[in-house]
Symmetry: C2
Subunit: 193 residues, 2 copies
């Protein structure tokens, strides 16, 4: 596959302590945070742009409300001083924010940088953001082992596991809105067989 | 549930002959077009706004390309003379179109009308449009028996039926981006038990 080029933006979505609350249920990808951290370490070493999207919920019951302690970033992937933080109130990081303008301004020769998306949850804020990124014309990559989701019931009340929810979301997105990739592919690491 | 109020916009998405091509595979909701037509008849009788979104694909292989005969609207739900047609090139009907501006202009007292969404396919253009509608703050309803989708493989290559794809898409959308409803509920018909 075509890997993102030098200078891509690493976009971290909603990686706040709220996502660790047990009320979410059973998640997949237990190593997602480690993978995000590996990508972060690489991006920081290369001095490429790292943009953290923070969810400021307006829902009275959300653990993402700014007045809750769980609104804080997860420590392992928290912004360093000087890194960009983009606050949002809806699912998509493009709505009510300057993300689109930032991306267009960040490019060279009128070409915005590629976008490499990680974070939570795959089928909600990540998917809403990736769908808009692709539709707005940005070259977008979604790192499937650096995001995760939770099991849920479908519209008929049937249980769908976190892995099934994640895998259908990725299938809906790949080729249509983005390219789905892996941490190892982005870091150009040899893959053990 | 709260039904859309008088004067809501009926938004028909991508109901073109391209969607009948056998290459799509096995669909669900065989009565979806009949339900769209029932809603259309109601909207026309009430003289409420009916907006048809038309997909003008730029993909060389798509049956939705403007130079293909299958680009034409499906006859049973095609626009009448004078009805609004909104052309789009991406999945979301809000990207590269004046849909958002039209909705904001259509309201009274600065309040845009509710949006009632039908069409195809549930987990692609319908879902991309509904996610943006909700995130942009529009009161949005998705009529679950007036849209449909197709079976597909998930990211792990597992078969997922059209009904399962549809039902997970609806579950992801309801309460978060829109309210999922039915044709009978919108038309306020008695439901047989």
């Amino acid at each position: 596959m075509t890997l993102p080029t030098s200078g891509a933006v690493l976009l971290l979505i909603d990686l706040q302590q709220a996502i660790d609350h047990p009320s979410w249920g059973t998640r997949n990808n237990p190593h997602a945070e480690k993978n995000v951290r590996r990508l972060l370490d690489w991006w920081r070493a290369e001095d490429w742009p790292v943009w953290h999207v923070r969810h400021d919920s307006t829902d009275p019951d959300s653990h993402y409300r700014p007045d809750r302690p769980t609104h804080a970033f997860k420590p392992e992937t928290a912004p360093l001083p000087g890194e960009t933080v983009i606050a949002k109130r809806t699912n998509s990081a493009f709505v009510g924010t300057d993300l689109e303008a930032r991306l267009r301004a960040a490019g060279s020769d009128g070409q915005p940088p590629p976008l490499v998306v990680v974070g939570v949850i795959t089928n909600n804020s990540v998917e809403a953001t990736v769908r808009m990124a692709g539709n707005l014309g940005f070259e977008t990559y979604l790192v499937e082992d650096a995001c995760f989701t939770f099991g849920r019931k479908d519209w008929h009340g049937r249980d769908v596991s976190a892995d099934q929810v994640h895998a259908l979301s990725l299938a809906n997105l790949d080729g249509e809105y983005c390219r789905v990739t892996t941490t190892a592919a982005v870091l150009d690491e040899p893959v053990s067989q």
